[in-house]
Amino acid sequence: MTSLLILFLGAIVVLYYGINKPEGKSLLMTVILLLAALSSLVYDLLTVKNRNVLGWLTEYVPENMLIWNFNSIAFSIVLVLAFLLVLGLFSRNNYIGADLLGLMLFSVCGGMLMTSFSNLIMLFLGIECLSIPLYVLAGSKKSDLASNESAVKYFLMGAFSTAIFLMGCAFLYGGTGSLELESISRATSMITHLGIKSNLIFSGIILLMAGMLFKISAFPFHFWSPDVYDGSPNRTTVFMATVVKIAAFAAFYRLFNEGLGDVKNWWGVTLAVSAGATILFGNIAAIRQSSFKRMLAYSSVAHAGYMLMAILALPQNGFWALLVYLIAYTSSAVSVFYLLDRTSGENSNFSFDNFNGLGKQSKWLSLILIVSMFSMAGIPMTAGFAGKYGLFSSIITSYPWLLYAALIGSAISIAYYFRVFKHAFFSEDGTLVAWKIGTMEWIFLALSLTITLLVGCWPAVITLCK
């Protein structure tokens, strides 16, 4: 709770503090805020078991609105870390005024509500609080038509999905008489024990699922994401691909796996079909892209499909697998988006050709490109493999066919992830202009590289805090 307060109040301060101040200062302030929130979260995580028997921290929390248990704190930590990485790598040379920083901070506050909700009202507030700043951020490159288009698109479709989600909440309330996660969980499991199938509750669950599937951009609600990812400024795209995805998956996991886990036989197959279709769609569509950014957008759709497996898994297996995968995906995605951002320079053409000659420019950047791509493709010794292994092995007994879809999908993905190597290392006509890399950027690049390799070589490190 402290961390949420720090971020929320801090966001207001940053917004007004920065009106007449140079950009650097508000950035520094944001970073300090994030570090403060992070340390408070880590403190919470370490003490969560001692606070009370159930491990629930209820002291500051309005009754039955937010919950700070181990899972929600762990998700929040990953969320804040991801934001830190994004800020560290995407703050130089771009305009990042106090207004945008404030918006991003508000968005992260929404994300934290999503990771720690215990009432559907809070989840809804979180989603809105996360999304509304995003609509603005997507259009933050004001002079760029594509950016404007993506903002409008995102807004319209987001509004639509919110309506579906709210409808689901209403149905569920009608069926169970409560919006609390715990009461809903109890009511639904009682109904299954009695052997009744309530269509009201059931429709509510399906509508909620549709709303969440939209947020994580899964089939058939993913159509917005390639267009919006492609059109938004790079910083917003990477924010959406990492921070927003973490929040959405945490909420999805907590709502479905923890809250509605007892009625999995109602929604499991539907979600599994969606996951399989997402994986295949994302990977196959990514193969044909000539724009690196669009390829990443489709690949992000595919990654969402893999992560859906965690929601289908048994609670503890799913949680750890999801956590490892989120970390793996985030750490490699920020580096790759950073390289994409820098190789494209000032123009908004993101073709593979931008990478021509990267190999000659810099050894370390090549290493980062290789490791990140390997991690995304799931090659062993990188975090991506550990994540995929965890996810795949968690659903193998319950949904074997989904596993095969995922294996085929990840085999296809090698084709497009490795395509960039041809441009980076085998191409002769290097037009790439070297750019200056600040100390801050090196630190964060090294950090993400370390995470990718450390988690890859020793995935159990994540579970140490258990």
Binding site: S203, P220, F221, W320, A321, S393, A411, I412, K422, A460
Partner: protein
């Protein structure tokens, strides 16, 4: 056991050393230090081997060693440790990998002299040895998979080592992707194991299999998946075409990775899982026939190749096929025997060809060589020993290991035996052809080449001589019972704790039959020698140009058009569908797509139509999606 970690980590340290500071040091130091890191592993492997030996205190031999590093993964209730082990099977593989690895490192110091990427080459080579050791030393399937992927990666890096040449880059990618297809099979097998045994440790899985808690269908599915993995790594039909292309890499790489060690990983996998394969006769039959067809097809292609390395590459594919024939009939120790002797003589032949290429200033076409006997005597004699060993000259190592396989096959499937003998005959013919055309007759190259011709330096010839000695005496490892009673079948006895009952069930032919089989093998060898001698020495003919060939010879020279077939079936059909796909890049990747079948290609055409950028449509899809989800679920 700390010793095991020393063995494993020494090459890794060598890799870090050459990779990070090797660039700033003189070539000699980088080369020697990374060679020494392998030597350290070799010495400790030898120690492990001796510890496993039966002695007075422990007549049955020491126990298998195990060492657990740390808990690698703990997803849910499945824990996987970073654990390594050394039992009798592993210790043999370790000796082969580090022993031959060390010789090839020494060789490379001279061979790669003056190359811009000298330090990089040694870094990759050390990394390869590390990964290969992970593969064989791991005590669970995940470690094996790690090593498996790791060696694939190193092979990719080393094939494309001279990456300025676009063709080489393409060959590297082809190897990588073909291997990935195989790896997919291995991965499926891995997940089948998890789902049926809830563990990835060898001991747990094999115990579960022995206790009969796995159904035959499940075991067969696991075995076939594993074999698909082995097909990729060990270059069996239909995934063999990458290996000949992989010859684009520097020659020491071909010797180490694509002849002696990495390509035998598939054989190792099957031997390791012999408990499972014994329970799946269907999978064994598949292995037998795939191995047999690979062996014959590759030998036939080898007949008409004129690139010295290509001949050896096809020969490797063919010999691997022979090992799989042995595995198919359950003769695991015979397969291991052939694996070891093959590692000796094939590494020797590759290094010899490297010496020739070195001496010829980069020329690889045997038609432009000839008469090298007088210029490069050491290479000549060692290459001769290698040729005799692979063609089955009596008392050479290849003779014994091949004979062991053929004798076992004869008792089970005489037809297969006959075809395998044919394959052995062809092997003799193409090997003598290469040998005679290269070293005998008159020199056919240019004057400058002739002027340049010289024997290679000691760093090249010493490994050749050592390997030649090993190829000569390697047969002692597993002498047939015909020759000696006390020391017969040493290797088989050595491996008996790993192989368990699998070996005892095998019937051995009677002594008279075995003499007969041996006689046939010898006459096959003599026939091959006489035929080629008559053709290339007495008539002094030189292999014809491709254009002059007709009929079967043309088919052989064009590798039976398999590459073209793959191109037509998988690549073209998908290219037609994928209009926006990058044409230049399409080759292999489109080939990969082909595996996913045309149904998906059709879908991918649909996808681009669906993603049209219009928000009305997107909203429509969403509504349809929600309605479908509701309707299907409520009214089902």
């Amino acid at each position: 056991m700390g010793m095991l970690f020393v063995i494993l980590l020494s090459p890794l340290i060598g890799f870090l050393f050459s990779g990070i500071i090797g660039k700033y040091l003189p070539e000699k130091i980088t080369g020697w230090i990374s060679s020494l890191s392998i030597l350290v592993s070799f010495i400790f492997s030898l120690q492990v081997f001796l510890d496993l030996m039966p002695n007075v205190a422990e007549p049955a031999g020491g126990p298998a060693f195990e060492a657990i590093g740390f808990t690698f993964l703990s997803v849910g209730d499945v824990f996987v440790d970073f654990a390594i082990q050394a039992d009798r099977l592993t210790s043999l593989m370790m000796l082969v990998i580090t022993g031959i690895g060390f010789l090839i490192h020494l060789y490379s110091i001279s061979y790669m002299h003056g190359d811009k990427g000298f330090y990089k080459f040694f870094a990759y080579l050390n990394l390869f040895v590390f990964n290969m050791l992970v593969l064989v030393m791991g005590s669970n399937f995940l470690m094996l998979f790690f090593g498996w992927e790791g060696v694939g990666l190193c092979s990719y890096l080393l094939i494309g080592f001279w990456y300025r040449n676009a063709e080489y880059g393409k060959a590297a990618r082809k190897a990588f992707i073909m291997n990935r297809i195989g790896d997919l099979g291995l991965l499926v097998g891995l997940f089948l194991v998890i789902s049926s045994c809830k563990s990835l440790n060898y001991s747990d899985v094999f115990a579960a299999a022995k206790s009969g808690s796995l159904s035959t269908e499940m075991v067969t599915a696991i075995c076939i998946s594993f074999f698909i993995g082995a097909m990729g790594k060990s270059a069996q039909i239909p995934l063999y075409t990458w290996l000949p292309d992989a010859m684009a890499g520097p020659t020491p790489v071909s010797a180490l990775i694509h002849a002696a060690t990495m390509v035998t990983a598939g054989v190792y996998l099957v031997v390791r899982c012999n408990v499972l394969f014994e329970m799946a006769p269907a999978a064994q039959q598949l292995i037998l026939w795939i191995g047999l067809s690979t062996s014959i097809l590759a030998a036939l292609i080898g007949l008409k190749q004129n690139d010295i390395k290509k001949v050896l590459a096809y020969s490797t594919v063919s010999q691997l096929g022979l090992m799989f024939i042995a595995l198919g009939v359950g003769a695991y120790s015979a397969a291991m025997f052939h694996l070891i002797t093959h590692a000796f003589f094939k590494a020797l032949l590759f290094l010899g060809s490297g010496s020739v290429i070195h001496g010829m200033g980069g020329e690889q076409d045997i038609r432009k060589m000839g008469g090298l006997k007088s210029y490069m005597p050491v290479t000549y004699y060692t290459f001769l020993i290698g040729t005799l060993a692979i063609s089955g000259m009596p008392l050479f190592s290849g003779f014994f290991s091949k004979d062991e396989i053929l004798a076992t096959v004869f008792t089970q499937q005489p037809v297969v035996w006959f075809l395998a003998v044919v394959s052995a005959l062809i092997t003799g013919v193409y090997m003598f052809r290469v040998f005679l055309v290269t070293f005998m007759g008159g020199f056919r190259g240019t004057e400058t080449q002739k002027h340049h011709l010289h024997e290679s330096p000691a760093l090249i010839t010493v490994p050749l001589i050592i390997l030649a000695i090993l190829s000569l005496v390697g047969g002692l490892l597993n002498l047939p019972e015909l020759f000696t009673h006390d020391h017969a079948q040493w290797l088989k006895h050595w491996l008996s704790p790993v192989l368990g009952n699998a070996q005892d069930a095998l019937h051995h032919p009677s002594h008279s039959t075995e003499w007969m089989l041996m006689g046939i093998a010898v006459s096959v060898f003599i026939a091959a020698f006489l035929y080629t001698r008559n053709k290339y020495i007495s008539h002094a003919s030189v292999p014809e140009e491709d254009a002059e060939m007709t009929g079967a010879a043309k088919w052989s020279a064009h590798k039976f058009y398999v590459d073209e077939l793959y191109d037509k079936v998988f690549v073209r059909s998908t290219e037609r569908l994928g209009s926006t796909m990058d044409k230049a890049d399409g080759g292999i990747f489109a080939g990969l797509m082909g595996w996913v079948s045309s149904g998906i290609s059709y879908m991918s055409g649909l996808f681009s139509k669906v993603q049209n950028g219009r928000i009305q449509y997107y909203l429509l899809y969403m509504v349809i999606g929600v309605i479908l989800m509701l309707v299907i679920n409520i009214f089902k």
